[in-house]
Symmetry: C2
Subunit: 566 residues, 2 copies
């Protein structure tokens, strides 16, 4: 492609609204343009890299046995009402009425449509399992669209759905998709982790998020420094054997702690380590109240608490509720002398505390020399806290580290939630009606692009990985008015095309400095510069990845480039 | 692809709501399913043929020098207000508000977005001309969605836009696009015509519609039986030299025509040929009234009338207006004894009428022996009528025939309408601001699919052309429980794939009759049946196109298929 015939509007200045590198660079390098908040046009170069990611996704989906289809964006509200998401998704689901005042959603995802469709068309166990996918534009009216392609309101997604007669078949599909996703993100050149994630309220169980490691990620990942264990921090189990101290138990004692409320304040005031403190939080668990204890330096994880108590909903009790129940302020509550109907549960770490301290259920008072089970009753000890850096990895290998991650993929065993709501049934081998079991699997295609740029750039611009790059070679004629340079450049342009090496040929009448700066910004892997040595048949070959450069004779160029791109 | 692993839900019955063959067959063969009125899911086979059409479109667009991009469906209302189409497009333009109550249109087309984008990014004549295109989902809330993919509310379109400094450059782009469109529809196997079309109100001039010939088409095409002339019937000029009769002019005479009003009635009553009648129609032309004359067997063409009078708006006068002006009923008006302020214009054919007849501006009276220019004044004779079958072709070659056509493409010299409205300007070589000149070019991609099926089917199903077919070969094992058939079929399945011949392998446990019927319905070009002769290594090879079949030894299969698909 001749640069003069395409549209690559590079910018010298960083756009004021672009906070992160991928957003800045994709705009500056002329790949995308915003047309409304969270809504982007993909210019020719942006479209090319998008299509390259799509190609990888297609190939790996087909390998996993999935067939491509294409479902509509306009979706009748009826289906969304049947699953209840018409009501629960709120303003994120974009809605409109047609000319006959029929309500439609703009597809934010396609569980409703695909489940209804497959439920209508597949009536026998003989046609299961079935793996389908599509690559399509999705719409979500994000409250705060930002970070360019990372959180847009109109974006490209690959969504796949699998349909099964039984859990074993779903497990198999899940494994295949896990592998396909690993292949896809590996081919995209990404440093990522498959992370154990929260299945939320959707009834399913197993779920992994594919996270690209990046400082600007909005999620925290806990991962092992030696194994491939990785989990969303909310989902990482804590497997620690806490050692019991052999210190003698002292007598319980009430002390004044005037105005000291937080664990840190009380710890400092009493001159005792934070690890000896017992932190007490009053939770409202569905319709009852539970006092939850953790070590002073630990944090309670709501999701673990909810699972431990098999609750639908847990939230901290309000100040008002605390006062009513315990007649004290939040900063002074504790497990001793509690009303009998308040259950006490504690994280495992609390069990080994000797001569600790805790709130006394009296304002400005704490107990010292507190010993669990002697001074108060605990109904159960469980894993209730967030994992911390330095904790042993739950798989027994290495220690936990934290990283930030950008979610680019999500695989999910849906189970029967949607199939039940939408009546997706089939006849089993015995001729009996059964409900289908489902999995769903998403990849943010345009978001993956942004994640790639987050991991592949330097101060001068993007550095595209080989499978994603819009063109392999950037061919630059330093001075196209020079006859020798011009002829040689045209000759190389033809040779590259004949050898199926994709090439962007900067044939513009611009100063060399502008061409070189644009070339670094755009970030193709190989740059071939035709300059002063053109007369002798020599050109410069430079790698965007590491800046390495060498002079090459035109006769060895094709072989060299082919070996570089391998 | 194994048929057991994909979704091809064939139907025996024709869907009740499907009026035309392409709709019936695409549903019956399991290619598409409707999810809402005018909204379809492309099932795996439908998606494949769609992607094949898209591939052809991409290749020909690139050859024409166009670069692909991707613009959003969500479009701020502001742009549409600037061109006025927010108001003029009515309910066809789908609209919605986001969570902040900002108004959006769902892209029905992208002139507004692309003109604004290119106007922002291209500031110099050096970067023109520029050809861009996209393949994308469009939304139009049709009043009466019908005919399956032919008139949907959500559909796939290729839209291209070119930007120029001058008309000559636009003319060149238009020629390239004309050629690209001809290539595309030829590769799709379609019998089509490039038809001179009406440029409507959009300011442009040259425009062609690409029409696929089909009885179910909604447009009438006038084409030459010998040359490649073709025009929308509304746009075909009439080039006829009418011969003057040498009959002597007789005296004007008023006759009673009690209750006879139409030309046919009066002609029969008077016993005179229709060709001797002068038909008079009173038109309201902008703010004045004009009496328009044509020969009794001809029809006035509003578009020609509008152009002849350089009018913005022409419509037939109402009965009330006619009565008020001429004090007579519509069926009795005529050009003699008219009020002086009513201009009379006539089609060329009227000039040569001798001793004709016409309304007398008195109820139930007509004149006979009427001779134009002697009995009434005509301000001008022009080409005002619709062309008719049998007329000479306007290019002087052959005679006109009529055909019905499905519009699958449209190319259009937009001129400066959008660029002016949206301020798309550039600096010319002299550093002066100039307005860009534009062309736009659309192809209904999903509609093209339907048009292909209209031309490629028989009573048993679809017959896909080679470049569009979802797979080249349908491989059928008649009885997969038979070990020899099963092994041979699997072996052929592998061989075909190794030779890059795409194949759908019917490995289902269905009766042979079901498999053959489905195979005809689905319509792949080559069917290979592995049956009783499997033991000797023989299979049956049948062409969907013409039903030809022969037995082949497995050793000659690949060569044979390759030659068939060439």
């Amino acid at each position: 492609m001749r640069q003069s015939q395409t549209l690559i509007p590079t910018l010298k200045e960083t756009p004021a609204d672009a906070e992160i590198k991928s957003h800045q660079l994709l705009v500056r390098a002329g790949f995308i343009r915003q047309t409304a908040s969270g809504v982007y046009s993909f210019l020719p170069m942006g479209n090319k890299v998008l299509k390259n990611v799509e190609k990888i996704v297609r190939e790996e989906m087909e390998k996993a046995g999935a067939v491509e289809m294409l479902m509509p964006a306009l979706q009748l509200s009826d289906l969304w009402k049947e699953t209840g998401r018409w009501y629960t998704m709120g303003p994120e689901l974009m809605r409109l009425n047609d000319r006959h005042e029929r309500e439609f959603a703009l597809g934010a995802t396609h569980e409703e449509v695909v489940t209804s469709l497959i439920g209508d068309e597949v009536k026998s166990y003989k046609k299961l399992p079935l793996y389908v996918y599509q690559i399509q534009t999705k719409f979500r009216d994000e409250k705060r669209p930002r970070f360019g392609l990372l959180r847009g309101r109109e974006f490209i997604m690959k969504d796949a759905y699998t349909f099964h007669t039984d859990q074993g078949s779903l497990d198999e599909a899940y494994q295949k998709m896990y592998q396909a996703y690993s292949n896809i993100f590996t081919r995209c050149g990404l440093n990522f982790r498959a992370v154990i994630a929260d299945s939320g309220a959707m009834g399913g169980k197993d779920t992994h998020e594919f996270m690209v490691l990046s400082e600007i990620g909005e999620d925290t990942i806990a991962y092992s420094d030696t194994s491939d264990f990785a989990a969303n921090i909310e989902m990482a189990p804590v497997h620690v054997t806490y050692e019991q101290s052999d210190e003698a138990a002292l007598d319980l004692e009430m002390v004044d702690t005037p105005g000291y409320k937080t664990m840190v304040e009380v710890s400092e005031f009493l001159g005792l380590p934070l690890e000896q403190g017992i932190k007490s939080l009053l939770f409202k668990v569905d319709e009852r109240f539970v006092l939850v204890l953790s070590r002073g330096d630990h944090e309670i994880n709501d999701i673990k608490l909810k699972n431990a108590l098999a609750a639908n909903n847990v939230e901290l009790a309000s100040e008002h509720e605390t006062k009513q129940l315990l007649n004290t302020e939040v900063g002074s509550i504790g497990p001793i002398d509690l009303p009998e109907d308040i259950e006490v549960i504690a994280d495992h770490a609390v069990a080994v505390i000797r001569n600790g301290y805790c709130g006394a259920n009296k304002n400005d008072k704490h107990y010292q020399n507190v010993n669990p089970d002697r001074d108060f009753k605990v109904s159960s000890y469980q894993d209730l806290r967030f994992i911390q850096e330095g904790d042993p990895s739950p798989d027994g290998q290495g220690k936990i580290k934290f990283a930030r991650g950008i979610e680019v993929g999500h695989i999910f065993k849906l189970g029967q939630f949607y199939a039940e709501k939408l009546g997706a049934q089939y006849l089993n081998e015995q001729g009996k009606q059964e409900t289908m079991t489902m999995g769903c699997y998403g990849i943010g295609v345009s978001r993956t692009l942004a994640a790639i740029v987050e991991q592949y750039h330097d101060d001068n611009g993007i550095k595209w990985p080989k499978e994603i790059t819009p063109y392999h070679v950037h061919l630059i004629a330093v001075n196209p008015k020079n006859q020798e340079q011009q002829v040689l450049a045209e000759n190389i342009y033809e040779q590259l095309q004949e050898n199926n090496i994709s090439v962007l040929f900067d044939d513009r009448k611009e100063r060399p400095g502008v061409k070189f700066a644009d070339s670094d910004l755009i970030g193709l892997p190989v740059r071939i510069t035709v300059g002063k040595k053109a007369a002798e048949g020599y050109v410069e070959c430079k790698l965007r990845e590491n800046g390495e450069q060498e002079d090459l004779h035109v006769s060895e160029l094709i072989d060299k480039i082919n070996s570089l791109l391998k």
